[in-house]
């Protein structure tokens, strides 16, 4: 494989990591509080507001059921408003964030709901405020689950990022389509797939390792 092609792969890898990294960060920034709220706002819960919970749940479901490629195209005006342009890697971060936020929120919700309800009652019994319960009990106790959720989100984002070539987002997926498929260069297709597999492996292994490290439910000395 020629040095030019290798350079293309390196550049595309950089673009993928940039888009996925920023989108994962933003998706977590929005998805974590949203997920915590979804997990604690049903009737009788910490921040009980069943109506808001219901409405947010519907919005989350709607976003998640929209195919990503349609989402990318449908929100182009919004993307232009936020990123100043609708073309390129930076612009692609907008739909990636919008797609990952509800995904992360649902994973966070599931992880938070796994925390023993007795712990919430216990913290309440010694006068913890709802915010203190979230910060000192729910998030630390759910941390292994949250890390695994984030890992899953990053892996999914890598998949989504292959589609942002449609708006000139670049990245590995785009490279694979344009060179591997449209120019019929099977070795390029193979290289892209190998790099993606390696990235997913690294992300997943790192996530598993971190989740295991913070999991004190297991004995380890």
């Amino acid at each position: 494989m020629s040095p030019e092609l290798i350079n293309l792969i390196i550049q595309a890898t950089g673009e993928s990591l940039y888009m996925v990294g920023i989108a994962a960060l933003l998706g977590t920034a929005f998805g974590l509080p949203l997920g915590v709220f979804l997990a604690t706002s049903r009737k009788g819960e910490l921040f009980a507001s069943p109506l808001v919970n219901r409405v947010l749940g519907i919005i989350v479901n709607a976003t998640r059921s929209t195919p990503f490629i349609i989402l990318v195209v449908a929100i182009i005006p919004f993307t232009r408003l936020v990123a100043g342009t609708s073309i390129g890697s930076t612009a692609a971060i907008v739909p990636l964030t919008i797609a990952s936020t509800p995904f992360i929120a649902r994973l966070v919700e599931a992880a938070i709901r796994e925390v023993d309800g007795g712990l919430i009652e216990t913290a309440s019994s010694f006068g913890a405020s709802p915010i203190q319960i979230v910060l000192k009990v729910l998030i630390p106790e759910a941390l292994p689950g949250l890390l695994l959720a984030l890992t899953l989100a990053v892996v999914s984002l890598l998949g989504y990022s292959a589609m942002v070539g449609a708006v000139g987002g670049g990245g590995l997926g785009d490279l694979g389509i344009r060179y591997g498929y449209q120019r019929f260069m099977p070795e390029m297709m193979l290289a892209v797939v190998v790099v993606l597999i390696a990235l997913v492996q690294i992300v997943q292994s790192a996530g598993d390792y971190l989740a295991r490290r913070v999991n004190r439910r297991l004995r380890h000395r």
């Binding site: 019994s125 010694f126 006068g127 405020s129 941390l143 913070v214 439910r217």
Partner: protein
Amino acid sequence: MNVHQSLAIGQPIETLEAISPAATEPDAMVRFEAISKTYPAYRGKPGVNALQNIDFAIPRGSITGVIGRSGAGKSSLVRLINGLEKPTTGRVIVDGRDISALAGRELRLAQRSIGMIFQHFNLLSSRTAADNIALPLEIAGWAKADIRARVAELLALVGIADKHDRYPSELSGGQKQRVGIARALATRPSVLLSDEATSALDPQTTRAILDLLANINRELGVTIVLITHEMSVVRQLAKEVVVLDAGHVVESGHVADIFTHPKHPITQSFLAEVIGDSLPVSLASRIVAERSAGGQAVIRVQVRGAGAGDTVVARLARELGLDVSLLSARIDEIGGQHVGSLVLGIPSREDVQARVLAWLSQYQFSAEHLGYVA
């Protein structure tokens, strides 16, 4: 021993007090006033009247047991004390304050003076023993150095100073509950609520934890409220008891009084758990309804009160000039009072039997004729 002394022995204790009405209890730590608690119907489940007409006081500095079967309303009752639940009607006064009227920040401040321990310990798996104990102090906004000192003190108090850096997964059940107790005491509460705190522990560990609670009550003067379905817990630790059944207080008072003279069937069934009301199998299988020459009549005598059972066999034999054999006996001590029963064999003659029963009732022993053995 003179006659007057022996006379007193078989008699009921005269220091009985009726159920102490909340209003007349001068130094109550917790006072329930006309409490009822109803859970409304929800998602197809019918509403539940968990508590009704609850009116009693828990004396300051006491260890009070609240005993009842599952579903009797014990958990609801204890959660009214620390404001985790609100009564549907009535007030709960804790240390002079109406906790049922507090909300938000005021309630959270009041909760710091009420500690609680749980059946399943409810420790944070992500925190070490020390950090678990530190949690209520962090929440109360203590300075780091103060927290460190207080945690060390508490770990020593509950006897696990060496477990400072251990995570809950590395601790035994008893050690976890010690952490739970230390955490509950961290903010120096005046009341400690125990919600079935020993129900998940083995008998030996249970005893050690109950001893620890007794020490804490004695040394720190903390009022302890024990929710339990286990008679052994009440017997070992409590001085006062409240018997709860189907959301009602059916009896309450000093442990010794309640269990030497149980009135309600529930109280009697709890007592039977301790003293047993069944005969040993080998004896029960020999008892027949028909009198036989040379055999014995079997009489069961209830023993209630301090030293009540000590002399009954000897006195019966001496005063009536009879051969009395002890077929079975089970006597336990509850609140310093003897509670149990003796099963006696006496000569199987109708006149003897009548004299013995008359003698027993004269000294206020309750007795029943069970049958005959050959």
